[in-house]
């Protein structure tokens, strides 16, 4: 849909070209929409849309292909890094992007993400961590915080019973194949701006052929967390961000 722009006026904000105008299936207040928009902005600004083959996960973001105007391959649950490896190896000219949640990347797909990172695959991985299985009704995820109540940890996550949350991006960052690892957040405008810069750097690193790049984005799940959107953003800032601290975790491209 295009709107005629009056003479003398200029567009200062609009929908990125790569973001479709379809109504999305995310719950009110969900952070996935923000991350989708950032991806659309960054790929658009780098001119990567026509070269991109993206890999969709299993989970709430499986429909990413409906909201981003990119070629997409839908991976089995957790296997996006392996699927992306196959794409990357036969399409050296493509830009390859994976999008995974925390259940997909840090539980069922642990093996695939670790080995894609260890091989230094030229992939840009986006890892949205909201600490819960949203699509299946709010069960405990590998990144669920200690004490957090979920439908499968109704008395709160107990280390003695459920084990500890996994700091996946810090774990991946120790691998020499990982050129860049950063953690952003969707908590406020400043965090979102920083997250966009992390995503941009993670894309450039693939273009430079430097190695595997991952951006974790801590995000909110108001419905899964049993909160209003505003409360969930407060928890993201005041609780989650203290455990999963935003910032650049490693940048091996720095001299």
């Amino acid at each position: 849909m295009s709107v005629a722009i009056p003479e003398g006026a200029r567009v200062i904000f609009g929908r990125p070209e790569l973001l479709t105008d379809r109504t999305n299936s995310y719950c009110p207040g969900c952070g996935h929409g923000v991350v989708h928009r950032l991806i659309a902005e960054v790929l658009g600004e780098l001119g990567l849309g026509p070269r991109t083959i993206a890999v969709a996960p299993v989970g709430c973001a499986v429909f990413a292909y409906d909201y981003l105007g990119l070629d997409f391959v839908e991976a089995p649950h957790g296997r996006a890094p392996a699927v992306a490896t196959g794409i990357r190896r036969v399409r050296p000219d493509a830009f390859v992007l994976t999008y995974q949640g925390d259940g997909d990347l840090a539980a069922i797909g642990t093996g695939e993400i670790v080995h894609a990172a260890a091989r230094g695959e030229l992939i840009t991985a986006v890892f949205v961590n909201n600490g819960i299985y949203g699509m299946t009704g709010g069960q405990m995820a590998p990144t669920t915080l200690l004490g957090q109540r979920t439908t499968s940890s109704p008395r709160g996550r107990d280390a003695a019973f459920h084990g500890y949350p996994i700091p996946m991006t810090e774990m991946l960052a120790v691998l020499p194949g990982v050129a860049y690892a950063a953690r952003g957040s969707v908590a406020d405008a400043v965090s979102i701006g920083r997250t966009k810069r992390y995503l941009q750097r993670a894309c450039e690193i693939q273009l430079e052929g430097r190695g595997f790049a991952i951006v974790e984005v801590i995000s909110n799940c108001p419905v899964g967390w049993g909160m209003t959107p505003v409360e969930s953003i407060e928890r993201l800032k005041e609780v989650v961000a203290l455990e999963y601290r935003p910032g650049v975790i490693i940048d091996r491209t720095e001299p």
Partner: protein
């Protein structure tokens, strides 16, 4: 006499380039290595694998040869990794090979279902070993059910090709790519530890099937609307429509691509139904049985799915009994019984765990069948 009732899926068979130094050259090759080289010469763009006995020589051949050809080879972190790499590569329209052995095939089951649903052409070689569980590393045919009826969840089928010699395995490797791309489906080549690891003299004839357009492949949405390779159809109506499409495709494959071969059936009273290595044993047993006065012949399915049911049913009118020989506790025998619908007695003999039936055991089973099937004095009235 050997007949091939159904036309080869690969017709016309493209000869190697005139003047090729390999034309007609005979060499001794391991099955695993011969299939690997046949895949390379068939234009395989990428190979993904994980070490497992008795298919490791295939992976090792690819590890050496694919980089020589400037093509991708990845030793994956698991069979899950390997088959999903294949899924990704195939989604871009590449010609892709994966190989494994029985326990690894169980791990690949998930992606088989996704690839069938997303209609991705990938050739998967299973060099079967004894099961269940970790089983043995000896030859086996105990993955017949898995290959023809199962692997993953959902309503889908996958063509299964069963070579009985290393030379045939090479030809079927090229055919498998062609079938996979023509019908947009995974294709399984079902072999076993003997065919994989034994050496046989083979003629070095290779074939590269022609490429066909892949207007569905994800290549980057430059100058066209985005494409999505997917298996999720959340609306029940949509998924049913997709399933109808898949079933129509399976019906077309069943109509056109069934293959089997027969030997010594002209005067046969008894017929052995066997595929792969078991057919090799059966061939020896048939020669011995004929020396002893038992007129036996061989019916060898080359496609296990689609199963040559109607050719087998036609045969029932001419013979007194059928013996199924397998390196399993009896799996294909169920399809034989379904095809024959009780028209003639069906007996079974097989060994498991990596053991191979001897020709003597098969001849003994033929004698038992001859007794119950009343051969040669009079065939049962039908």
């Amino acid at each position: 006499m050997t007949t091939r009732p159904a036309p080869a899926a690969s017709d016309p068979r493209r000869p190697v380039a005139p003047g090729s130094p390999h034309r007609g050259r005979r060499v001794l090759m391991k099955g695993n290595e011969a299939m690997a080289e046949a895949a390379i010469r068939a234009g395989c763009d990428a190979y993904f694998g994980y070490p497992i006995t008795p298919q490791a020589e295939l992976l090792e051949w690819m590890a050496r040869r694919m980089p020589e050809e400037g093509r991708p080879f990845v030793q994956a972190e698991s069979e899950l990794g390997a088959i999903n790499m294949a899924l990704g590569a195939a989604a871009t329209g590449a010609r892709v090979l994966v190989s494994s052995s029985s326990p690894g095939m169980s791990l690949m089951a998930e992606a088989m279902s996704y690839m069938a649903a997303s209609e991705l052409p990938v050739v998967v070689i299973n060099v079967m070993r004894g099961g269940p569980g970790l089983g043995s590393i000896g030859p086996s045919q105990s993955d017949y059910f898995q290959a023809t009826k199962g692997h993953g969840h959902g309503d889908y089928r996958v063509p299964v090709l069963a070579p009985a010699s290393i030379g045939e395995a090479m030809a079927l490797t090229a055919d498998a790519f062609e079938l996979a791309e023509r019908y947009r489906t995974p294709v399984i080549i079902l072999t076993d530890g003997i065919l994989g690891q034994a050496m046989e003299p083979v003629e070095l004839i290779f074939r590269e099937p022609p490429r066909i357009d892949a207007p569905w492949a994800t290549t980057g949405a430059a100058g066209r609307p985005p494409r999505v390779v997917r298996s999720l159809h959340l609306k029940s109506e949509d998924l049913e429509a997709h399933n109808r499409h898949l079933q129509a495709k399976y019906a077309a494959i069943t109509d056109r691509e069934v293959r089997h071969e027969t030997e010594h059936l002209e005067d046969a009273d008894l017929v052995i139904v066997a595929y792969g290595t078991a057919a090799r044993v059966a061939r020896t047993a048939i020669a011995r049985a004929r020396d002893a006065g038992l007129r036996a012949g061989l019916f060898r399915p080359v496609t296990l799915w689609p199963f040559p049911s109607s050719a087998l049913r036609d045969l029932a009118a001419r013979v007194a009994g059928v013996l199924v020989v397998e390196l399993s506790a009896g799996q294909m025998v169920e399809d034989v019984r379904l095809a024959l619908e009780g028209r003639v007695p069906v007996a079974f003999t097989g060994r498991t765990g990596g053991m191979v039936p001897s020709p003597g055991e098969v001849v003994a089973a033929l004698r038992d069948l001859a007794t119950t099937a009343a051969v040669p004095d009079g065939r049962p009235e039908r």
